[in-house]
Amino acid sequence: MNELSFPAISSTIVIMTPFLLAAMGGAFSAISGVLNIALEGLMLNAAFFAIVFTNLTGSLVLGITGAILATLLLTALFGAVAFGLKANIFICGLATNFLAIAMSIVLAHTFYGRTGSIQFPGMPRLVPLNIPIVENIPILGDIFSGHNAIVYVSWVLLIIAAIVINRTPFGMRLRAVGVNEKAAKAIGINAKRIQFTALLISGFTCALGGVVLTLTLGAFVPNVTSGRGWIALVIVYLGRKKPIGILIGSIVFGFVEYMSNNLQTTSDIPSGLLLSLPFFATVVALVVYSVVEQTMAKRGLLKTK
């Protein structure tokens, strides 16, 4: 990193990654007409298993793979109950959030005999990768260099998500089911299967989002997700379920969290109050969005959704 670096930019990019990943998966679900409120729990699940498997195997790749598989399994359980047993998907989402928390504590107790934070000295971590040449360019260097591998993966995934949603038969069916489930069924689309797949996709991206949280830290702390999954849900909504909207939303909320973290060390404002900032900022964002949308709709500036 050179002297002309902008920590605000590079930190925001790292902080926004869990938002971006979780919201991306949440968007797939939302487009198919399913509100996935389990983003929080799915991330937490992956955050926990990333530490378990990385410690077990000593390998980051295997650790991340294990975390993804464990989270896909939990997502499949969620989907099986919701679609198979016709349970209320929203309550099942809550159940998934609770199960993830409970499981992390019970398993930590079983495996390691403790329930607080879990840390292993010498365990491999995700490290920042510096990209030659680019790293020396001001601003661009902060944006494109010095992040861990998952950050770059999240960008690639965002592009893939945009293509899948807009340019593939699967994306077409996904949107059709979301717009009108009955009509989609009538033309022979298996709506439940599409929604289940979308749910699994959100399980996969949430897993990556959770992995970033603990593998950069090298430790699992209870409630490490601290509401990020919920804020990601808001980002899905504010970003109108569109990849570009989700990117913008993630940048905004990443920056809010960066400010909140930063003020904790640089200002006299008590940290308790600053911790509440992202939540209230999110409420304000929801209101502003809605007011703008309503005014535009009144003036006929907005195409109907």
């Binding site: 198979g84 808001v234 308790g272 509440s276 409420v283 929801l286 809605s290």
Partner: protein, 349 residues
């Protein structure tokens, strides 16, 4: 089949559906204990029989029902009225803290007036928080599901700040807020356990909510808007009001539950006071199928699972959180239409 018999059988089907969910969760509890414990029979004994082995443990279990009854009632009203309240945690916490603040600011009132003021304060605070989300929904159509959760999470941090900062009691070793006067505390009714007179308040609240929902005009409007907003509008009900009112009642009941925790049990506020009580309310309301009177037995069952886990943790080798796994199983199954349909089909041929 006669109409009354159909009604009876539908109810029986619903009951059997609930029983299936609850029974499955208990089976999973047994399976988990066999999986996790080195001495499963001992753990099983403490888990399922433990809560009944001493008066102390038993009455404490009843005591832990009290806040869950309040939050369960709050959630039941919200669900019945077609709104969502995911802010229970923050509402309980803010209600409790409001009671503490009022109790320390106005510490020279006669005992029972003081108690009433504190309880009213908690109720008003909860109602205020709930109606804020209701207003956002009414005016700008902002999702109540999201704002109740977000506002609550923000508030939890603020109350934590008050406890750790300006209102911390420096004389205590444990981190806790300043305490309210002894004279404001509700009487204990089964010493040496913590069970207090708040239990009667909780039962009374359940009866009142039942009466409100079933026999009043307001309750009727709440239920109609809850089951079908469009229909309610055609029926001449001003549906916009019915975003704010149910969330105010819901938040009020839950905030009141927080205040009861202070005047009944703890006397001061601390950072873990809520510990999932708000979420428990959702589980309880669902087990009770949103029926206010059903909240009472549902809350009892819910705390039975938890105190069983607590006794098992103290006397054996499992951790308390297995209760959380078991309750999440209930959450998964309690709305599973397949089981309810199965029994309905069997009973209503």
């Amino acid at each position: 089949m006669e109409a009354t018999q159909i009604q009876l059988r539908t109810r029986l089907a619903t009951f059997l559906g609930i029983l299936t969910a609850v029974g499955t969760s208990l089976l999973i509890a047994v399976a988990l204990i066999f999986l996790l414990s080195k001495d499963p029979t001992r753990t099983l004994y403490y888990y399922f029989v433990g809560p009944f082995t001493s008066k102390f443990v038993f009455f404490n279990m009843i005591e832990s029902c009290i806040p869950i009854i309040f939050s369960g009632l709050g959630i039941a009203v919200a669900f019945r009225s077609g709104v969502t309240n995911l802010g229970g945690e923050g509402q309980i916490f803010a209600g409790a803290m409001t009671a503490v603040l009022l109790g320390t600011w106005f510490s020279y009132m006669p005992g029972f007036i003081g108690t009433a003021v504190l309880l009213l304060g908690g109720l008003m605070m909860g109602a205020l928080i709930g109606s804020a989300s209701g207003l956002l929904r009414m005016k700008w159509n902002v999702s109540d599901l999201l704002t109740t959760y977000l506002v609550s999470s923000g508030l939890v941090h603020i109350v934590n700040y008050l406890i750790l900062g300006p209102y911390r009691d420096p004389a205590k070793i444990r981190i806790q807020s300043v305490s309210i006067p002894d004279s404001y505390m509700l009487p204990r009714i089964a010493t040496p356990s913590y069970l207090h007179a708040g239990l009667f308040g909780a039962i009374l609240a359940a009866i009142l909510v039942h009466f409100l929902m079933k026999y009043t005009h307001t309750g009727y409007h709440l239920r109609v808007t809850g089951s079908n907003r469009q229909f309610a509008r055609y029926g001449g009900i001003n549906i916009r009001r019915f975003y704010v009112m149910p969330l105010a009642i819901s938040g009020g009941l839950i905030g009141l539950g927080g205040a009861v925790q202070i005047v009944g049990r703890y006397q001061s506020c601390f950072t873990d006071l809520t510990a999932g009580l708000g979420w428990a309310g959702i589980g309880v309301a669902l087990i009770a199928r949103r029926n206010p009177l059903g909240v009472l037995p549902a809350a009892l069952f819910y705390v039975y699972l938890q105190s069983g886990a607590r006794v098992a943790m103290m006397n054996s080798d499992v951790t308390y959180e297995i209760a959380a796994i078991i309750t999440s199983v209930i959450f998964y199954l309690i709305t599973a239409e397949v089981t309810f349909e199965f029994f309905r089909r069997r009973l209503l041929k």
